[in-house]
């Protein structure tokens, strides 16, 4: 098993192994994730599918160590392959992980206007992201512009140079306060407009000056995508970004995501509950149920030959005209007292004795097709 892991680590960008997350609430301990395994390869779109409460959002937050309290990550590893160096994101301290958040791994959420600050314009917010992560680059650009045009005081230029050399000294900060920094702001503004144009927002100059509540859902989502891509992240985590959008706008955003993937070569972890979107967009798919990934395969493979009973039932329950609606009997288990063994066993039509007692392991059954089920020998 270990040898398989290390080869995977070499060709995957992010790998989550046996992630365990628990929430300590008044009602009890919620076993949100009990051993999630998945990996994202560079340049691919991995879809993470599952119903409400299965833990897909928690998984995505865990990768960036952003699990909201009362949740705690209590087990497993999260590996991030950064330029050949493998980092364990769980073991990083707060400063290092903050450098990764937004810069290397960026996130896009379901309701864009809930995650944009309503009292600042789009320009200000994207500008803030740029300043946080690409400050040096913009300082250099500002200095260049000053040299080329010859406008602007030499004091401004001195401030920029000082900010480059000694960014943390108190003197620098005092000088920066007195300086108008017009050129720097102008550079940032140009970049913001460029970014907005990249995500196909018409009339980006006007939109940049708008507040989030003035934007429609589709535009706000594009703005958030622009913000996420502003620092050229190598991986984008998209948590149900099109669920709240109209179907025609969703089609536009999906097309945009495909184009951006082509252009920037970033990987995307795309979380959704819509199997149609998964089929349209993703290269590989991971199916989650009640806190575990139960199947992970190439998208064509998954739709043609699903192995896990839950995946099969999920595909059957998609409404098709002329056919009766097939539902999955029973309900999602309460994660405060989850069933022992396989969490799907009480709804599974292939339930066996062992399913009630032993948790099936996540194993590679066919080439690049992983399942966690006793039907395929889930126990070692």
């Amino acid at each position: 098993m270990t040898s398989k892991n290390s080869t995977r680590l070499k060709d995957s960008l992010v790998e989550v192994k046996n992630l365990v997350v628990r929430f300590y609430t008044y009602a009890g301990i919620v076993e949100a994730l009990e051993g999630v395994n998945l990996h994202v390869k560079p340049g691919e779109i991995l879809g993470l599918v599952g119903e409400t409460g299965c833990g897909k959002s928690v998984t995505s937050f865990s990768i960036l160590q952003l699990v909201p309290s009362p949740g705690k990550i209590e087990g497993g590893e999260i590996y991030f392959n950064k330029d050949g160096k493998v980092l364990n994101l769980r073991k990083l301290d707060e400063d290092s992980i903050r450098k990764i958040r937004g810069k290397e791994i960026a996130m896009v959420f379901q309701e864009p206007r809930a995650y944009l600050n309503p009292v600042y314009t789009i320009e200000t917010q994207i500008g803030e992201a740029l300043l946080t992560h690409r400050m040096e680059e913009f300082l250099k650009r500002a200095i260049e512009t000053l040299e080329k045009t010859g406008k602007g005081s030499s004091f401004e230029r001195k401030v920029y140079e000082r900010m480059l050399k000694k960014p943390k000294s108190r003197m620098t900060r005092i000088m920066a306060k007195f300086c108008s920094k017009k050129t720097l702001k102008e550079e940032i503004r140009k970049e913001v407009i460029d970014l907005l144009r990249n995500v196909e927002i018409a009339d980006p100059e006007r939109v940049a000056k708008m507040y989030p509540f003035e934007l429609s859902g589709g535009m706000a989502q594009r703005a958030v995508i622009a913000m996420a891509l502003s620092c050229n992240p190598i991986m984008l985590i998209a948590d149900e970004p099109t669920t709240n959008l109209d179907v025609t706008v969703q089609a536009q955003i999906l097309k945009l995501i495909r184009q951006l993937r082509e252009r920037f070569k970033s990987s995307i972890l795309y979380i959704t509950h819509d199997l149609g979107v998964v089929a349209e967009l993703c290269d590989r798919v991971a199916v989650m149920y009640a806190g575990r990934v139960v199947e992970l395969a190439d998208v064509y493979e998954l739709f043609k030959d699903p192995l896990h009973p839950y995946t099969k039932a999920l595909l059957e329950s998609i409404p098709r005209p002329g056919r009766e609606f097939k539902s999955i009997p029973g309900t999602v288990p309460n994660l405060i007292n989850p069933p022992k063994g396989c969490r799907f066993h009480d709804r599974c039509q292939y339930e066996m004795e062992i399913c009630r007692k032993v948790k099936p392991e996540f194993m590679e059954i066919k080439k690049n097709h992983f399942v966690a089920c006793h039907l395929y020998g889930g126990s070692k």
Partner: protein, 350 residues
């Protein structure tokens, strides 16, 4: 099939109040002159994107909102309807018209007549978390229509409540609990029980499966079908999820910015949509089959604001087939094929 609901030129505008004196400075034309017929016993699907007015239309038919124009007929005989239409064209101020409208036209109802209506028409909302009073027991929530309309109370009401709860798949043990103790699917069942407890004829289903999971969705849809057969119900199924509408509706109407653009039997409208917007909409739905991927997004731009809709045909700024007449006049609904209506000048020419 006889028509149960006939809606003619229905309008619902929301005023925008502004200025120092708080006057109506503009209106959101949520529903702008909609005409449609719902036949007894059928499931009529109403689709469209956000802001098109489908929920407003459903609530206006139910008279939860007061219409700003048009007629709504519920179970009225055809001769009466014809006479009213005739009188409106020839003699709009006649007393006879006023009397007939007060008798048959739901748009004019108020007070006691409206209360009577509530027994025959009901609604199931989209989000069962907010549509059930969180401080009331399930028993009281479902019994409310009975008590409010004076049909039954006390023990008798409890009996009827139990009956309907069992039909939707819940039981006696659920009576004395609060809504937050149930899952989303169960809450929606409670909402359905509440809608059906007074045995209505017509039920508006406002996106009833949008807030529940995919696996529960199928259970609810099966429930709707069974209940329709058992109680002889007529449904107005409002949804933005076209795949669900395709499976459950007999006929479908597509709305855009307060107007109906296409109305046809389900299979026809999904296999061969005629209106450009209908085509784009149906084309945009992602198909759960990776071998059938589409690379293009059929429609660009955004839906314009309903405060200032484009002149003429509402869709013309985004339409490939737009011509001059489309920019000036609104296209009427024409029957292109049997039972297949479209509102589009470009198609009329053919």
């Amino acid at each position: 099939m006889s028509s149960l609901i006939f809606v003619r030129n229905l309008k619902k505008y929301y005023p925008i109040i502004g200025g120092i004196f708080k006057r109506r400075i503009a209106s959101v034309k949520a529903v702008d002159s909609v005409t449609l017929t719902i036949r007894r016993g059928e499931t009529f699907g109403l689709v469209g994107e956000s802001g098109c007015g489908k929920t407003t239309l459903g609530k206006t038919i139910l008279r939860l909102l007061k219409p700003d124009g048009g007629n709504i007929f519920f179970g009225a005989p055809q001769e009466i309807i014809n006479e009213i239409i005739e009188l409106e064209k020839t003699n709009p101020k006649s007393k006879r018209l006023k009397k007939m409208r007060e008798e048959y036209d739901l748009a004019t109802f108020s007070g006691a007549k409206l209360l009577e209506l509530r027994r025959r028409m009901q609604i199931v909302y989209q989000d069962p978390t907010t549509s059930l009073d969180p401080r009331m027991l399930v028993k009281d929530i479902v019994a409310e229509p009975l008590v409010a309309q004076g049909i039954a109370k006390g023990e008798e009401a409890k009996k009827l409540v139990l009956e309907i709860l069992e039909r939707v798949g819940l039981g006696e043990q659920h009576l004395y609990r609060f809504p937050h103790e149930f899952s989303g699917g169960q809450r929606q069942r409670i909402a359905i029980a509440r809608a059906l407890v007074c045995r209505p004829e017509f039920v508006v289903l406002d996106e009833p499966t949008s807030s529940v999971d995919v696996s529960v969705r199928a259970q609810l849809l099966n429930l709707f079908k069974d209940l329709q057969k058992e109680f002889d119900l007529t449904y107005l199924f409002i949804s933005h999820d076209l795949s669900v509408v395709e499976c459950i509706s007999d006929r479908v109407a597509i709305m855009y910015l307060g107007k109906i653009v296409e109305l046809a039997p389900t299979s026809k409208i999904f296999k061969s949509p005629l209106h450009p917007y209908a085509q784009a909409l149906i084309e945009s739905v992602p198909i759960p089959d990776p071998t059938k991927r589409k690379e293009r997004a059929p429609l660009s731009g955004e839906v314009p604001s309903p405060v200032n809709p484009p002149a003429g045909c509402r869709f013309h700024p985004r339409c490939q087939l737009a011509t001059d007449v489309c920019k000036k006049e609104e296209p009427p609904m024409t029957e292109i094929e049997k039972d297949h209506y479209v509102a589009c000048f470009a198609l009329m020419k053919r």
